[in-house]
Symmetry: C2
Subunit: 332 residues, 2 copies
């Protein structure tokens, strides 16, 4: 399979899983000190990675939580930010300007921060109360499951957290299987849509971050392909009027509570365009994940599937995923 | 000026303003009963109308608030929804399916709802605790300023609310002036971009709802033009890689705390595309609005400007703003 190193992924997953105890200790300490509310804040793709966790908290937890772009949070602040707030930051490089600026500001204000980074000794770590270095191990969501899952458990909102967290041990293995299961569809997709002048991407629930990010951070940023992303319920409040023959509509289908909205999109799009494609969570086998947790892990699982599209697009279009016109190339 | 009835707008504005006392009484009653948190919920354009108010509360208030699509709220619920929550609904027609379903559900749960509608005797009114009928008077945001402004004042977060609300009396007049000030630019815009195959729309802060909605609910829904909308800080995390000569980038420039992000977009876009356009709040005169409130009213003010583009697009493209392929035309 193209650029697929199953063993490396499993090995990284194991290392990522080994962080569990340390992260749970951090979560316990934070919770015991008191958590009035949580701000998830980062930029671009990193913000999108945290969307499912904010979503999870919105639905399941009494603790108020907010997902806010780092630049916005810097510019506006929030009256809800208090001494016993918790600010969760994510920056792979550990040097994203706005994210580091927030860590510094929180340090001054005496507000606790937990920063997720992919390497040691970064400016972000220097200014964070706690740093969780995941060394770039995939899936990066693993560490968030431990942190947020444990907080929910402590708050009496996730009684079977331990069982869920135990199953995560095999998530990388199951993600590899998803990659294999989807690869042929991904190849066909890349070949068919490699020159599409425009694509509508639709998703819902905790796959919204993935939908938003895949279209923006992969198709737009790294392949220079035009997209519109819209959530499944919002699709029917404007964007769907653009659908006609020859307009690609791509749906990421959730197994969570918003699935009926995805079904509605599928029904509409398959009627009005001949270029409707869906990637359906329910088609993935995930042998190690219990039925009740499938919807909880769908963001990283769907990402594993979409990663196959990215690699095939790179290949068939002869356009490196790392090629940029502007990002870290020119000053702006 | 094309399809411009200044007197009718002023007259509607007066009637809308007359609702102030009644709305403030409702706000006071709700506040005195206790408001643990606020859920703003609606669909499509109505959700976008409420975005600035959720944004305002996020920044200025201790009261947690959430903006959530009605269909999502129905599907997932929220653990934060309690007896002393307040659910704010908006449906112009008063019969939007998901919005009515939420009102019914809240009725069963004993949670208070305030519904904004544009006509009497709707299903939404039937199931809402309070209904504010604005009879379609523009700007529809007026009623929200009274409700949310008063709640903020009661919560010691908007001490000069009365002065602000007094100034709103002249907002319709100032909006008319904006329409006149922008009309030539709007006509030129419509002529130049009437056949654009794709446009990137960018905005920030409390103009994000306007940016999102104008591109989706007007350009896409009523003119069948392809758009991508993205917030100013997020623009630099993907979408900007698509910018090159011949790609239209349209910026709605705020006077609020996020203006520096808009400036950054303007600087970038004006360098890399020859089709950069901006609509800048600071160019509007707004003689009756104090400097410190200009940023608070920018959503309806910008809408007054954009409305001119809509009317000119309709005219130059000979494509009615009411023409739909699917919405309320076919079953889906």
């Amino acid at each position: 399979m193209l650029k697929f190193d199953a063993e490396k992924f499993i090995d990284e997953g194991k290392k990522g899983y080994q962080l569990r105890e340390k992260i749970e200790e951090t979560a316990t300490k934070l919770y015991d000190e008191g958590v009035r509310n949580i701000f998830f804040t980062a930029s671009g793709g990193s913000n999108a990675v945290m969307q499912p966790f904010n979503y999870w908290m919105e639905i399941k937890s009494d603790i108020p939580s907010y997902l806010i772009t780092a630049a916005d949070f810097l510019a506006t602040g929030s009256k809800k930010l208090k001494k016993d707030s918790l600010v969760i930051l994510l920056s792979k490089s550990g040097d994203t300007k706005e994210t580091v600026a927030i860590a510094k500001k929180m340090e001054e204000l005496g507000v606790r921060t937990v920063s997720f980074v992919n390497k040691e000794d970064t400016p972000l770590q220097e200014h964070s109360t706690y740093t969780i270095d995941t060394f770039g191990y995939h899936p990066q969501e693993m560490a968030f499951y431990f942190l947020i899952g444990k907080i929910l458990q402590k708050n009496q909102e996730f009684s079977d957290y331990e069982r869920f967290a135990d199953e995560l041990k095999y998530l990388p293995e199951d993600m590899n299987l998803v990659a294999e299961e989807i690869d042929e569809q991904a190849r066909n997709f890349a070949e068919k849509y490699q020159n599409a002048d425009y694509q509508i991407w639709v998703g819902s629930g905790d796959l919204w971050g993935t939908t938003y990010c895949y279209s923006m951070c992969v198709l737009e940023e790294s392949q220079w392909l035009r997209t519109k992303s819209v959530s499944s319920p919002e699709f029917f409040h404007g964007t769907f009027e653009l659908v006609e023959k020859g307009v690609p509509v791509v749906l990421l289908k959730s197994e969570g509570p918003t699935r009926a909205m995805d079904d509605r999109v599928a029904k509409f799009a398959s009627t009005y365009t001949d270029e409707f494609e869906e990637f359906d969570m329910s088609n993935f086998s995930l042998p190690h994940i219990s039925k009740e947790y499938r919807a909880v892990v769908e963001a990283p699982v769907m990402w594993a599937a979409l990663r196959r599209i990215s690699l095939h697009l790179e290949d068939v279009r002869n356009h490196s995923l790392d090629k940029r016109r502007y990002y870290r190339v020119v000053e702006y």
